[in-house]
Symmetry: C2
Subunit: 200 residues, 2 copies
């Protein structure tokens, strides 16, 4: 009863490579060929080790969330609610634009499809969202000129903020969030805009 031929690759190292592929191309956009090439193994090894494509994704997500939870522990260790939010959101700003990783967050980007031949679709969508952001920015420029917004406000930054909240709400809604949950988010966000108001 021998123990069989030992595995020739390191599972964690291979998972890191798979994680990057899912992160960059999304679940459906990532092909087994891309995954196996990045992991440096052949399909049978992948299936023997992780079951199937979805099993590999879950293993990659486990690894991602393990690392992320360690970071979140540091985040919630901040002394105040404000400091927690600052540490988390500023940290995200840095991490999501770190050239060492694909842009964005695996937990969002993993659901984005960019299969071969349609990589430009997400950019097409982004361009349409940018139109509304520009519209908001123009409106906030006017608000500033009218004395409605503080002199210190950057209208483009405020418009980007409102757009970001809107996008976040969209993803939440797609995942099943109900109306009350979205309204609570909107309510806090509106208060943030109000705080930029000259009378606020």
């Amino acid at each position: 009863m021998g123990m069989g031929r030992p595995r020739e690759f390191d599972a964690e190292t291979a998972l890191d490579q798979a994680m990057e592929v899912f992160w960059r191309h999304g679940y459906e956009g990532a092909t087994i060929a891309q995954l196996t090439e990045a992991m440096g193994i052949n399909p049978p090894s992948l299936y023997a080790c992780f079951g199937n494509k979805e099993g590999l994704l879950k293993a990659a997500l486990d690894r991602y969330t393990t690392l992320r939870n360690i970071w979140m522990d540091e985040v919630v260790a901040a002394p105040t609610a404000r400091a927690v939010a600052e540490r988390m959101l500023m940290g995200i700003a840095d991490k999501q634009t770190d050239p060492a990783n694909p842009p964005g967050c695996l937990l969002v980007q993993g659901g984005i499809a960019c299969g071969t031949g349609s990589e430009n679709v997400p950019f097409e969508l982004a361009a349409r969202r940018a139109q509304n952001e520009d519209q908001l920015r123009d409106r906030f420029v006017r608000a500033k000129a009218e004395g409605d917004l503080k002199e210190s406000v950057d209208p483009a930054a405020l418009a980007r903020y409102v757009s970001a909240v809107a996008v976040g709400m969209g993803v939440m809604a797609s995942s099943g969030a109900n109306r009350e949950a979205l309204r609570q988010v909107a309510d806090v966000a509106v208060q943030a805009v109000e705080a930029q108001s000259a009378r606020g």
Copy 2:
């Protein structure tokens, strides 16, 4: 030199159906078979009219953004920056949970892949995001108990807000937003949390 056989379907009606399919299943998750069935036509008619799948998406996006821009015109017609933000974000909360439409926003969901057999992947991702939201909520419960947050604050709502901003930033980063842009968003969001603080 006759003018040929006339088209037997209405392009705008068909586009509305296609828009719903892209909205619900994402670009890659939507198959030509699903699209043609929803549109009530056969593939050759689709290709004769819209060129290819991506052409159909762009036509559907055109229709979506046309309707959306009309609504945005009403939004920016609000009297103050605060009212603009309120009208937009509360309107989004309602629209994105309207049972008459698929949940979420086509401009975000259109990039989400839910092909047959992997519909549960987006929910798997959402479940992982919820873990971090719960972590935040617990932290804000503590902050409230410590008198760091106002008595009127709902810790779950505030955690949901911070999570929504984080998700929005993730989508922006995926679309090419740079670090400074994300930091500006984070900065406004942090001020919103600060406004919920007892000393704020």
